[in-house]
């Protein structure tokens, strides 16, 4: 089967305005969570979130930004970095990459939430004439993908999978299929989310899904710790450039590793609770292994979904052991959400990038705040940055979404010319 390689990476996250700063902060075990200082938070039970470290208004031209939802602005920043990292010119000539062979697959879990709600506010308070004519192209969930497609001149298809917090792993899986099927040679792939707004904070809060550790924001996201009490809402975007090995070699591209396979299952159990047996989650991991042609013993690292919810973390620990069996003992697990918070539709892409870099740099970033672990988890969690051995390495990134969506992505450091 055609090998699909990773040739460009970019991100804007609560830990940094680009990937290099994000990765350094991850290795250092830095929390990106802080208090929500805006007035609206005062009366909410949840008053913490993980804002992007560099606000998009510092990066995106003001007039352009007026027409772009915050989620799209973040996606454009991450895509621009990834595109340049792969050696291309952002908003450059069509000669650089054949547009007919270039696709985009960029997810969002919720879409242009700020644009939708701000324009509703304007309509309700000032009348319909105050509704921006740009509202629809700003709020649509495919806006981030479409705007990235415009910037890079992608004509082989522009896609937006939506599966809540599994969305951007599903975007990676979709792009993998398309590249293998020969529908494009190169793809801009990832996810974005910008939902730090009173409505989703209140709504996730009403579900009892969010941490209320308001007095200690940096300690709030604590996967597998007995003191965990929910996830922390994060925002940001992450983008990868994927290519067929042939296309990458023909242009002498630098290669980080491969997207070796992907596995998708659905729980069909409950609209929000994970199936406590973990059958769907371990099933996704097993499908990813089979798709990649890897054995469980090849997997030396898992970047877990690990959101810091009471039930979710326990279920996933069991699923990892079910999926990998005894090979779990030689596998280092981490949850970078302990630092970034939960980027919802951006999470899968960011954490796949973290998995790729962990293999490429041979260092697993830590899970912070794990001070009092749940007993008998049966997985080896890195509480400090942990080295990985020399040689060929493979890893898995898990993402699970409300709706019972489970997507595991398998990556390797193969073809890495470093």
């Amino acid at each position: 089967m055609t090998e699909i390689v990773i040739t460009g990476l970019g991100a804007t996250t609560p830990l940094g305005g680009d990937l290099a700063s994000t990765w350094q902060a991850m290795l250092a075990g830095t929390s990106g969570v802080s208090a929500i200082t805006e007035e609206w938070a005062a009366e909410l039970p949840v008053r913490i979130a993980a804002y992007v470290k560099v606000d998009p208004s510092e990066v995106i031209d003001r007039v352009k930004a007026r027409r772009l939802d915050r989620s799209t602005q973040l996606a454009l920043i991450a895509a621009r970095e990834a595109w340049a990292d792969a050696g291309f010119t952002w908003e450059g000539d069509e000669d650089e990459v054949d547009p007919q062979r270039l696709s985009v697959s960029i997810a969002s879990g919720i879409g242009g939430l700020h644009s939708l709600l701000n324009n509703w506010d304007a309509h309700r308070d000032k009348g319909y004439r105050r509704v921006s004519p740009f509202t629809i192209p700003m709020l649509m969930a495919n806006a981030p993908a479409a705007n990235v497609g415009l910037a890079v001149h992608a004509k082989a298809g522009v896609h937006t999978p939506v599966s809540a917090c599994a969305s951007s792993n599903e975007a990676i899986s979709l792009a993998l299929d398309q590249l293998r099927l020969g529908r494009s040679d190169i793809a801009v792939v990832g996810g974005t989310e910008a939902t730090i707004h009173p409505l989703p904070i209140a709504a996730f809060g009403q579900m009892q899904a969010l941490s209320r550790r308001n007095d200690e924001p940096e300690r709030a996201s604590r996967p597998w710790d007995r003191g965990r009490d929910g996830f922390v809402m994060g925002e940001g975007a992450a983008v990868l450039i994927l290519e067929t090995l042939e296309h990458a070699r023909a242009r002498g591209a630098r290669i980080y590793g491969t997207i070796a396979g992907a596995g998708i299952t659905a729980d069909s159990h409950d609209i929000v609770q994970p199936d406590p047996t973990g059958e769907g989650q371990s099933g996704a991991m097993l499908k990813a292994l089979a798709d990649a042609g890897l054995a469980a013993s090849d997997i030396r690292h898992v970047n877990a979904h690990g959101t810091s919810t009471p039930q979710g973390d326990l279920t996933e620990a069991g699923s990892i052991r079910t999926g990998l069996g005894d090979a779990t003992d030689d596998c280092v697990v981490t949850s970078t959400k302990s630092m970034t918070g939960h980027l919802l539709g951006g999470a899968g892409a960011l954490e796949t990038i973290a998995t790729v870099l962990a293999l490429h740099e041979r260092t697993v970033p830590p899970t912070i705040n794990l001070e009092d672990p749940e007993p008998d988890l049966g997985i080896d969690i890195a509480t400090a940055a942990r080295p990985l051995p020399a040689g060929d390495l493979a890893g898995i990134n898990n993402s699970f979404g409300f709706g019972g969506h489970n997507v595991a992505v398998a990556v390797t450091n193969a073809n890495s010319n470093r």
Partner: protein
């Protein structure tokens, strides 16, 4: 009552804010679409902005007649 030049200057700020056109380019003889490269959705925003700024009402059917900066200034002068 604002002068023609005062209205033009305020409109220029609005056009700059919405569409990024340099304020000095927003002159009475310029066409929004052909000279200033203002697209149809930005034009809607500019006209709604005029309603807010100058206290006029610009019905949708009237907006298609406002092709130049001068057309808009004249409409505002006549209706504010």
């Amino acid at each position: 009552m604002a002068t023609t030049e005062e209205i033009r200057a305020q409109l220029a700020e609005l056009v700059n804010d919405v569409a990024g056109v340099p304020v000095e380019d927003v002159q009475l003889d310029k066409s929004f679409v052909d000279d200033l490269d203002v697209d149809s959705l930005a034009m809607v925003e500019i006209l709604v902005g005029c309603e807010e700024k100058f206290g006029v009402t610009i019905p949708d059917e009237e907006s298609k007649n406002l092709k130049t900066v001068g057309d808009a200034v004249a409409y505002i002068e006549a209706h504010s």
